[in-house]
Symmetry: D2
Subunit: 143 residues, 4 copies
């Protein structure tokens, strides 16, 4: 199963309108049916007090990856909103990039249950799991 | 009960080292024992695709307010880390500012349970509750 | 604002059909608009391995109290289902009874955001907060 | 990697002391390093108001499976307590049995992050995912 060009365009347009994603330097790196991957560099501009990536960065990337994974399975014309999201932080997020992978666990008529994993990628390409997210998305009118 | 100058300095120093808070334009607006309030402007730089504040902004402010509320009750020399945090988004975050108020529900020997509420403040000063957070903080060595 | 007899009947009928509430010895002790309180005894039948009340008891009471709080604000004929719920356990639940108080934070057209607090009540009537819950309810057809 | 007899005994002893597990008719059906599976019958005694398994049953099984998965990786003499747990309910839990599978995502020095999935098993053996849980466990003195 592959993604239709219409759905791909819809996700890319929505992503491009998210000022927060630009502010965080985030880029959409992969997209498939019920799947989305978003990456962003770990820089001083998104750090917490110890110099690691802020929990807010891991959350914003994981939440967006999960939301766009959900959007790929929603009816044409829909937009997506986060109902709720929970994040567990597993270890300090040190490295070059954070990479969030969102997936759909259950696409229901009214609600979509999603999960995301956030990896910290070092300069040598090795990845370590730094956060996991679990939450709920809902379709919204695109207006 | 008031906050000692040492604890106030500790929180303000930590806040100032958070690059993410500067990037989001966040400022520490209130601090007391087990309480912290952080505000940030709602601008296109922190928006989602409909122009409202991104869930990641509400999360970052709420998480930080809750974390610093916890830090005010931790032993001298401690820093604070988020173990996990859950956010429910109640309505679109439209307005001039987001204001997050963090409070401590239970300061245990090993873990601190926290809550935060995030209000969207309109130009006329009226506030609407847009998000609630509930989570766990842990002390970390300040290093 | 008081509760109509119709809504009170609806909640009591629903509660009476929950086999789990009978199994746990739970009783509906208070009900108002957007509010519900449920209590159950702490006995060996609902203990965890140290003899305290099981997290599952605190969850079941808190979830049900929150759900029925939501149901009091839903349209006639609706039933209520839990979308998701998060619990933080603050201290061991020792005592005679657990008492869960559910409240509505936001009753939306599609979803209701709820919170619950669970107190452990000792033989002398003193109460200690042992758990807090935050979650989402959705109306379901009563069928 | 297999489980030592000592750890297996520790988990089975702890499980046997949980009155709640007996009340729910739950049985420990599988155990490995960082893994635990617990099942229980769906009966009127554990139903919600529509006759499906109560969210409290899915929670109690998932929480216990996740907790014992964590305990298999904790130091000798430790017991395990739930810090917090979040459950998303994906669809009504109809069938003969609920089967919860817990796994460890990260066993840290202080905290263990866990996940659980709960399947509803029909009479013909087919399984459907009805709930997912994500949470945090902490070691406790066995006393």
């Amino acid at each position: 199963m592959t993604l239709s060009p219409q759905i791909r365009d819809r996700v890319q347009d929505s992503f491009a309108r998210q000022g927060m994603m630009a502010t965080l330097g985030a880029r959409l790196v992969d997209l498939g049916p019920g799947l989305c991957r978003i990456a962003a560099p770990i820089t001083p501009a998104v750090s917490q007090q110890h110099g690691f990536a802020h929990a807010g960065l891991a959350f914003a990337l994981g939440d967006s990856a999960a939301g766009y994974a959900a959007l790929t399975l929603m009816p044409p014309g829909a937009e997506v909103l986060t109902v709720e999201m929970k994040i567990n932080l597993l270890r300090p997020a040190a490295g070059v990039d954070l990479v969030a992978s969102g997936q759909v666990l259950r696409a229901g008529a009214r609600l979509t249950v999603v999960r995301a994993e956030v990896q910290a990628r070092a300069g040598d390409g090795t990845e370590r799991l730094v956060a996991v997210l679990q939450g709920t998305m809902i379709p919204a009118d695109a207006g």
